[in-house]
Symmetry: C2
Amino acid sequence: MTAPIRLALVGMGKIAHDQHLPAIAAGQSFDLVATVSRSGESVGGLPFFRDVYELAASGLEVDAVSLCTPPQVRRAIAQYCIGQGWHVFLEKPPGATLAEVIALRDAAAAKGVSLFASWHSRYADGVEPARAWLAEREVKRAKITWREDVRVWHPGQDWIWEPGGFGVFDPGINALSIATRILPRPFFVETAELDVPSNRAAPIAARVSFRDTAGAEIAMDLDFRQEGPQHWDIEVETDDGTLLLSKGGSVLTIDGKEALAHDADLHGEYPGLYHRFGAIVRAGVSDVDVSPLRAVADVFLRGRHISVEPFVE
Amino acid sequence: MTAPIRLALVGMGKIAHDQHLPAIAAGQSFDLVATVSRSGESVGGLPFFRDVYELAASGLEVDAVSLCTPPQVRRAIAQYCIGQGWHVFLEKPPGATLAEVIALRDAAAAKGVSLFASWHSRYADGVEPARAWLAEREVKRAKITWREDVRVWHPGQDWIWEPGGFGVFDPGINALSIATRILPRPFFVETAELDVPSNRAAPIAARVSFRDTAGAEIAMDLDFRQEGPQHWDIEVETDDGTLLLSKGGSVLTIDGKEALAHDADLHGEYPGLYHRFGAIVRAGVSDVDVSPLRAVADVFLRGRHISVEPFVE
C-alpha cells in the first residue's frame, strides 16, 4: 500500500463540483489537501488559496494539482505548477492552443513530473469495447451526432463563447476524443462549416466532413441549440454490422442489441481518469495525446465561418 | 559519386516554374524525368502525365516526386505516391490540415520512404546566422511584419482564398517557419484578429499576439493589401542588441549594421531545399516539422474573425 498522492484542486467551477470532488473522494489514490479559486472557496474545512502562487508560498505539501480553470488561462498556471515539481492533471481541452500543450509536455519531461491531458469521454463504459470490436472490422462510414442545449449544460459559461473557448466544440471535442480512440484509421477534415452567432466569437453549430486514409467518410453534426431529447451518438457502419455508441459513450449497441459486458474494471468517467492519473504518477510517465485538440484546430483551420443569429443566454 | 535521384515534378503552377525547375537544373542530386499536371504541360521534351496515377501506370522509373499542387488536394496525391514507394517533397504548407501531415509522416515511415515537409524561407541566407546569434542572448520582444500585395504575388490563385488556402497566412507561414526556427523558446497564440473579406473564406490581414515561455511578446502583423514598398521583416530585441532579418530572411542586420558572413555553404532557398531533400533521401530519413503549420492552426483556433470589405482581384 503506497501513500496517497496529495492533491490540490484548482478552479472551483461546475466541473470541479460535479465530477472532480466526488471522483477524488471515491478513489484511493489521492488525498485532497487544498482548493484554489479566485473566490476563495473552501471544501470541507480544507486550506484554500486564491491562486497557485499563494498555494506555493503557503508551504503546504502538495504532490499534484488538477487544473479545472477555463482553457484560456490554464497554460500559465500549468507552467508554474510544473516548475514547482507538481504533477499536473489538465481538464479537457488541455489548452486553448496546440503549441502550448506541446510545450507543457516538454516542460514536464524536463522537470521529471507527470502531465495528464485528460479526455473524460474516453473513460465512458462503451469506449474500449467499441474500440476492440472495430479493430477487427472494416469501417465503411461513421456519423457523429452531438446535439445538446447549451443553456442547460453550460449556464453562465461566457468563456465558452470567447476565442479559445471553442463554442460547440467544447462538447464536440469529447466526441472527437472518442472517435480518435475507437476508429482504426487516421482521419482528416475535408470540409467544415462553422455557424458563429453574430454577437459571439465561437461556433454554436458545425457540420464537418472528415475522411480516413481508406476513403471512408466520417460526418459530424454538432449543435448547441438542441431542445428536447439530447444526442451524443457515434454510429459506425462496418463490413460486419453497425455499432452505435450512445449517451456520450456509455451505451454500446451492435446491430440493435445492447452489447456492453459488465466489467469489474470499469470505473466511470472521472473515477477512471483519477485512476489513470494515479497510475501515470506512480509509473513516472506522462499521458498527453493531442489528437482530439488537433482535430478541432484542423476544423477551425479548414472551416468556413457562417454568421448566424445572435445568441443571448 | 552516387547516381542522381529520378524526380517527377507534380503541379506545374507558378512556384514550379519560378523556383523548382531552376533549382533542380542547378543542383546535382536530382534528374528531372517527368512532369505531371492537369493541363498536360511538358518541359524540355520530357514525358508528361495528367496525374500521378498515369505516371505510375506508365512504368517510367521514378524515385521521388515534388508536389507543388495547392494544399487542399495534396494529401491524397502524397498518400498515393508514398504507396508507390516514392520519396515525397511537399511544397509549403505541407497540407491543409495537421492531422493529414502526421498521417503522411507515419505512412512514409511504414513504407520506408523519405517525406520532406519543406519550408523554403528557412533556407534564406540570414536564417541560420540569426538563429546562432539569438541562441546566446535573451529575447525581450519580437515583431513580425509581413505585408505584400496579393495581386502581384498570387495572381489568379483562387485556391488561396478557399478554406485550407489560409489567405494571408500562405505568406505568413513563411514568417512563422523562420520564427519557429530562430527564436530560442516556444511561443503560443494569446490573441488573434483575422480580417476576412465578406466574399472570401480566408483572411486578407491579421494581427496576432504570441507570448513565449518566459513571457516575451511576439507581435505579428500580416497584410495582403500592401501597395508600394513590400515588407517581410522580423525584428528581435534582446538584452544585447537588436536583430533585424529583412527581405524574407535574406538580409541580416544587427544594431543597424549588415551582419551576414558570406558562407560558401549557402545555396539560396530552393537549391537549399533540394540539397536537403537529396541528403535525407540518401540518409533514409524524413524531415517533417509541423510547428509552422501548428502555429497557423492555433491562430485560426484562437482567432476572432472580423468581416471586412470584399476582395475582388
